[in-house]
């Protein structure tokens, strides 16, 4: 298990490096010179040249990427092109907002999704099962930003129940401001998780060990909990692990729509300004979190399923 974790961590580092390298390449394909963006349209060619040199943009691309990684090892993610503040400081200021948004979205969608999936499997072919199937497929196919726009329209503009903008001040206000964005990015996941849990429960329910538990007269609740659900949630855990990446991209839209601070909003702003150090820093941290989330979900699965633990 320990060896497996170490192995996975090394692999994670490689994944992060590849991801950041690809991103650097992509940034260079995007039209627009960062030096020109900083200095404005009336800068002299000499000044632009000097700024490019200072930013390291005149060196070959591989050298730029290597320099970036060398700086990371020293804990230096570079500086904001405009303000000169440390990128790491800016990113870690914004990160908590996004992390809270994503965590709340995962928690509520997992809780609702597992409950809904379990209910559908136990009462399959009832009207509630059919309804949950239709609603699940419906919510899965609606993009998070559409969901965000309509939830703003309905709950903030028409009904005026919930705030539409910002992250709020203080704990309670923060929670109130979280409701709509967390709903918007989580609602599709309720459907995903419910579908997965339902299918996997129906499969587990036919397995002989469930019949054996019945043959011993175990109470239905206990059979459902420790003989069916305990196994049926495993695919959902894996799904949530990979889902973190999707949630980050959904958070980009939702943070812009709700004018919330966060990594997504930071990224959009930085890309528009060609503020390369911030883009790279934000993507680096996001990639790390996504890779870590996949690792954690794999470890949780191994923790819940002794058969997987054996292979590890």
């Amino acid at each position: 298990m320990l060896f497996y974790t170490a192995q996975r961590l090394v692999l994670s580092v490689v994944i992060v490096m590849v991801a950041v390298s690809i991103l650097t390449l992509m940034l260079h394909v995007v039209p627009g010179d960062p030096a020109v963006m900083i200095l404005g349209p009336r800068a002299t060619p000499e000044l632009i040249e000097r700024t490019r040199e200072a930013m390291g943009l005149d060196r070959p691309l591989p050298v730029q990427i290597l320099m970036f990684f060398a700086n990371i090892l020293r804990g230096d993610l570079g500086e904001d092109v405009f303000t000169g503040r440390a990128v790491s400081q800016i990113v870690f200021e914004q990160l908590p907002y996004t992390m809270i948004l994503i965590s709340v979205a995962i928690l509520w969608s997992a809780a609702c999704g597992i409950a809904l999936g379990a209910y559908s499997a136990l009462r399959r072919n009832t009207w509630l099962d059919t309804l949950s199937g239709v609603v699940s497929v419906g919510t899965i196919s609606i993009p998070a930003f559409v969901m965000a726009l309509y939830s703003v329209l309905i709950f903030a503009v028409w009904l005026g129940w919930l705030p539409a903008i910002g992250a709020g001040d203080g704990f309670l206000d923060g929670i109130v401001h979280l409701i709509l964005p967390a709903f918007a990015i989580g609602v599709a996941w309720v459907g995903y998780i419910a579908r997965i849990v339902r299918a996997s429960m129906l499969e587990v329910m036919t397995q002989p060990h469930v019949r054996m538990a019945r043959a011993f007269g175990l109470p239905d609740r206990r059979i459902t909990r420790s003989h069916i659900l305990k196994i049926a949630v495993l695919p959902a855990v894996t799904l949530i692990g990979t889902g973190v990446a999707h949630l980050f991209s959904a958070a980009v839209f939702v943070e812009v729509i709700f004018a919330r601070p966060g990594i997504g909003a930071l990224l959009v702003g930085a890309v528009n300004e060609r503020n390369y150090p911030i883009v790279l820093g934000a993507v680096l941290i996001t990639t790390c979190i996504i890779v870590l989330a996949t690792l954690i979900s794999d470890l949780v699965v191994a923790l819940l399923d002794p058969r997987q633990r054996e292979d590890i």
Partner: protein
């Protein structure tokens, strides 16, 4: 509080199946999987149920513990055990009987245990009704693992099923079934998934433990050798009917029904002359959506004649005290 049951079984009978019929509703029609089954399971004895695949022997076993598939329905008949009619039992009453008076061992030990829970926890779980401490329950679990000759039993409590071999897992299942001290143990082909050497070990173990604990056993198998080894009484099933039943001795030494005879002829262990091809019974089972009017075995029977097509044979008394569902055993045929 005894009820005034008129059909109370005799004292040495634990369970009596009376005219039991079970149907399966399928999209392509109703399958009459069991038809008019009459059987008794004596106290402390082993009843073997044999027959080829699809003859309804597992359906019969599952109906005795109320675990038939959702599309199955008891069409008629009764299963009497004490004052209960198991064929008409409510789900909650079933739950009270399972794991107390009736227990079951399943065919495939590889999948019968919960893969994500330790053996020990599963053995504690089935004792949920007992009002004794956790340590006492653990001690009982170890005691029964030792009964089924699992070496180093205490350490196995922490093991997960996948860490044990198939034979070990089936021993665990037997230990769990016996732990509940049932009056009736149903074993549905418990050795089919195991290899031959293990099979005889498990059968010998079952025989010893049955004698030790004195419970009744319904042993379902298509392996005649294990049935001969283990069972006091045997019922031979064909196409959802009991075609011959009696003591194991009578059935194996003096089989009367042509199907029983054919089945015994096909047993490789009984073939005396070297042969390149193993014998088979030609033909296949009849379609159980429309069971044939006369004798179900007629189409495959080498000795059938006109009457077999018209009359459905009842169970006639056979030569060695058994009951035989064949017109050949009709005393009136001899007289004619």
């Amino acid at each position: 509080m005894s009820t005034q049951s008129t059909a109370a079984p005799a004292d040495d009978t634990l369970l009596a199946v009376e005219g039991l019929s079970v149907d399966f509703e399928t999209p392509r029609g109703t399958i009459h999987a069991l038809r008019d089954i009459d059987l008794t399971v004596p106290k402390g004895k082993v009843l073997g149920i044999v027959g080829e695949s699809g003859c309804g022997k597992s359906t019969l076993a599952y109906s005795l513990i109320g675990l038939l598939a959702e599309n199955a329905r008891v069409a008629s008949g009764a299963i009497r055990m004490g004052d209960h009619d198991l064929a008409r039992l409510a789900p909650s009453a079933w739950r009270d009987l399972r794991g107390t008076r009736i227990a079951m061992i399943f065919q495939d030990p590889m999948t019968a245990l919960n893969p994500v829970t330790t053996i020990g926890q599963q053995m504690l779980d089935i004792q949920y009704r007992d009002r004794i401490g956790r340590n006492a329950k653990r001690a009982r679990a170890i005691e029964f693992l030792e009964q089924v000759q699992i070496p180093d039993a205490a350490s196995k409590l922490a093991a997960y099923p996948h860490q044990l071999s198939g034979g070990m897992r089936q021993r665990v299942c037997i230990a769990m079934a016996l732990l509940t001290q049932p009056d009736l143990l149903i074993a549905d082909e418990p050795t089919t998934a195991l290899d031959a050497t293990l099979e005889m070990q498990i059968v010998a173990l079952l025989r010893d433990l049955q004698r030790k604990f004195g419970c009744s056993v319904v042993f379902v198998s298509h392996h005649l050798g294990t049935v001969a080894e283990l069972c006091d009484d045997v019922a031979v099933m064909y196409a959802g009917e009991v075609v011959e039943r009696g003591t194991a001795r009578a059935l194996f030494h003096d089989p009367q029904h042509p199907y029983t005879q054919a089945l015994l002829d096909c047993d490789p262990a009984r073939i005396k002359v070297a042969t390149r091809t193993l014998p088979t019974i030609p033909g296949t089972l009849p379609d159980l959506r429309q069971p044939p009017a006369g004798c179900a075995f007629r189409a495959r029977c080498p000795r059938s004649w006109g009457r077999c097509e018209r009359d459905h044979p009842p169970l006639y008394p056979g030569a060695a005290g058994q009951r035989v569902r064949c017109h050949l055993s009709d005393p009136a045929e001899d007289a004619a």
